[in-house]
């Protein structure tokens, strides 16, 4: 097991290198650059200023040399400095990450609790009206894009009903308080979580149905177990293994989905930071975000695989 994890970690190094190379070169092909985004061409002596600034930021070097400098910094544990603000990228990310993790975490909890619960009910009551209506909402949930759902939620709960704030992570001007923060969190977390709720529900339902028809469930009944024990001990324990994988695979999409939700709700997380960095052609920040998301994807895949072997005794890695 230890060897397996070590091998997976080693394999992820070339993957990370590949991802950063590709993104670095694609990002450099975007029209304009950080200097042009900051300095208007109407400025007197614009050309000289632009040249000077480009020289300071190293943007006049060939692209492979720029990448080399970035990797060189990275190996010293430095992600560089934002072109826009001059702050170190690590501290920018560190300041923004908690808000994103809060959003992702709550969205994920909503999705798991609701999705698994509804999926189990749906399967145990297969072909009932309950099952059909859950299935209908499930398809609706999978089909509706996050951003649209987000806007609908804002329209209904903020604009029409006036119950919840529509943007920000806390009320501006007030001292930060957790309850205020959570009130702001509700809408974006649901907007991000509901689409995943629907997919978790579908997977749970399918998985429970598959397990329900296994002989060992019948065996459990033949042993004289009550229905509750049959359901919890024999059906759910087996049915939830594949659901764990789906949850693991969902983590990266949750991270990506957070970008859009953060923009809609002006949630000051890492996604909003990334969008601002892209408009400002702030490549150190862009690269920092990309590196972080690549690490998240690789880590969640690894964690999923490890969870799998913990949950399912038939799976052993060596």
């Amino acid at each position: 097991m230890f060897n397996y994890i070590l091998r997976r970690l080693l394999v992820s190094i070339p993957i990370l290198i590949g991802i950063t190379v590709i993104v670095f070169f694609i990002a450099s092909q975007m029209p304009g650059d950080a200097v042009l985004a900051m300095i208007s061409t109407d400025t007197p002596q614009a050309e000289d200023l632009v040249k000077l600034r480009r020289g300071q930021l190293g943007l006049d070097l060939p692209i492979y040399e720029q990448y080399g400098r970035w990797v060189g910094q990275l190996l010293h544990g430095n992600l560089g400095f934002s072109f826009q603000s001059g702050e170190s990228v690590i501290s920018v990310i560190a300041a923004r990450l908690p808000a994103t993790l809060e959003l992702m975490g709550v969205a994920l909890i909503i999705a798991i609790i609701l999705g698994v619960f509804l999926g189990v009910v749906s399967a145990l009551k297969q072909y009932s009206w309950l099952d059909y209506s859950f299935t209908f909402f499930g398809f609706a949930g999978i089909s509706i894009p996050d951003f649209f759902l987000g806007m609908v939620l804002v329209y209904v709960f903020s604009i029409e009903l006036g119950l919840l704030p529509s943007s920000g992570i806390s009320t501006a001007g007030n001292a930060f308080s957790l309850s205020d923060n959570l009130r702001h969190l509700i809408l974006p977390a649901f907007a991000l979580g509901l689409a995943r709720t629907a997919s978790f529900m579908r997977y749970t339902r399918a998985s429970v149905l598959e397990v329900m028809n296994n002989d060992y469930v019948r065996t459990a009944r033949a042993k004289g177990l009550g229905e509750r024990l049959v359901t919890t001990r024999h059906i759910l324990r087996n049915a939830l293994i594949p659901v764990v994988t789906v949850i693991g695979i969902t983590l990266p999409t949750l991270f990506g989905g957070a970008v859009i939700i953060e923009v809609i709700f002006q949630w000051a997380g890492i996604g909003l930071m990334f969008i601002n960095a892209v408009t400002g052609r702030d490549s150190p920040v862009i690269m920092g975000y990309v590196l972080l998301s690549a690490v998240i994807v690789l880590a969640s895949n690894l964690i999923t695989d490890i969870m799998y072997s913990v949950l399912d005794p038939r799976i052993r890695y060596d």
């Binding site: 072909y127 002989d215 060992y216 019948r218 065996t219 033949a222």
Partner: protein, 335 residues
């Protein structure tokens, strides 16, 4: 073998029917029913092995499952220890489960892949609170030894065992509650031929040593002949012939039984060449719409007009068979 068999019935099945509704349309109206088991009556005597044979889809597995109320019974009664299992509520049913257990066909899907062998076998002991909690693990190891498994494998998972070993686990699990009746639903058909004999012999030995009663459901006629005291033959949801093993195999009375038995190959090639086979025409009719009268008449070489109209009752023909004085039933107008 027969000395072990009393004449007292351990379980009496009377006019058992299991119909599966066919629902169609938007409102899921019932438009018909698959009559998987359509009026079956028989006794299983204490200490005997009753073989239940028939081709795929004839309702033999459904009969076995319904007898243990693992399927809902449409009508009929199953008298076991003075109770009618067909009308017990869930709590009473759970209690009665300890006296009757099942060995399933597929040793791969019938064991929970996430439980160790030990926890699979010990679970019924915990459910029914059999023995002191501390002794149950010891009992589990005894059971493993009894079925020929190494007791030190108690913490292994089912996937670490071969098919034959898994079926032994299934048998140990079934034995855990000290049941008096074991329904074995095609217990060897999923196993390699080389393993089949071992498992059959294990079951025969256990029956002798523990005084068990077996209902052996199978389409393997040679195995049934080897292990059974009596044999019941099913066709399309009904029993067509029932009697002691040798009379049924040697002098079958029902034309379907004759056809079925003629399909057993003989190991001697010379005899095999001259062996006469009765080839039935057509397929088994759809059990949702069985033929009127005798279910077998469209394929029967002896069928006459009465067979199309009246369903033959299972009647005792032993008086007309001189070689045996034990009852030999067949449901045929021409037997």
């Amino acid at each position: 073998m027969n000395s072990l068999v009393g004449s007292e019935a351990l379980i009496q099945v009377r006019d058992l029917k299991v119909h599966f509704p066919i629902r169609r349309g938007l409102l899921k109206r019932q438009v018909g029913a698959v009559r998987a088991v359509d009026g079956v009556s028989f006794d299983v005597r204490r200490g005997e092995t009753l073989g239940l044979v028939g081709e795929s889809g004839c309702g033999k597995s459904t009969t076995g499952l319904a007898m243990l109320r693992l399927l809902d019974v449409t009508s009929g009664s199953i008298i076991f220890k003075d109770h009618d299992l067909a009308s017990l509520d869930q709590t009473e049913l759970r209690e009665s489960r300890r006296h009757m257990q099942m060995v399933f066909q597929d040793p791969y899907s019938s064991l929970n892949p996430r439980m160790t062998v030990g926890s699979i076998i010990i679970e019924p002991l915990n459910v029914h609170k059999i023995g002191a909690p501390g002794e149950r693990r010891e009992r589990t190891q005894e059971l493993m030894k009894l079925v020929g498994l190494n007791p030190s494998f108690i913490n292994r998972y089912p996937h670490e065992f071969s098919g034959g070993q898994r079926q032994r686990i299934g048998i140990a699990r079934a034995l855990a509650t000290n049941p008096s009746l074991i329904v074995a639903d095609e217990p060897i058909s999923a196993l390699d031929v080389s393993i089949q004999a071992q498992v059959v012999n294990l079951m025969a030995d256990l029956r002798k040593d523990l005084g068990l009663t077996f209902l052996m459901i199978s389409h393997d006629l040679s195995m049934v002949r080897y292990i059974s005291d009596r044999v019941a033959v099913m066709y399309l949801g009904r029993i067509v012939e029932l009697g002691d093993r040798d009379p049924v195999f040697d002098t079958p009375r029902h034309p379907y039984t004759r056809a079925l038995l003629s399909a057993i190959p003989t190991p001697n090639p010379k005899l095999e060449r001259t062996r006469k086979r009765i080839i039935l025409q057509g397929d088994v009719p759809n059990p949702s719409n069985p033929p009127a009268g005798c279910h077998f008449h469209p394929r029967c070489p002896l069928a006459t007009s009465i067979c199309k109209e009246a369903a033959p009752l299972l009647r005792n023909l032993s008086s007309t068979v001189s070689q045996s004085d034990t009852p030999h039933f067949a449901a045929c107008h021409h037997a």
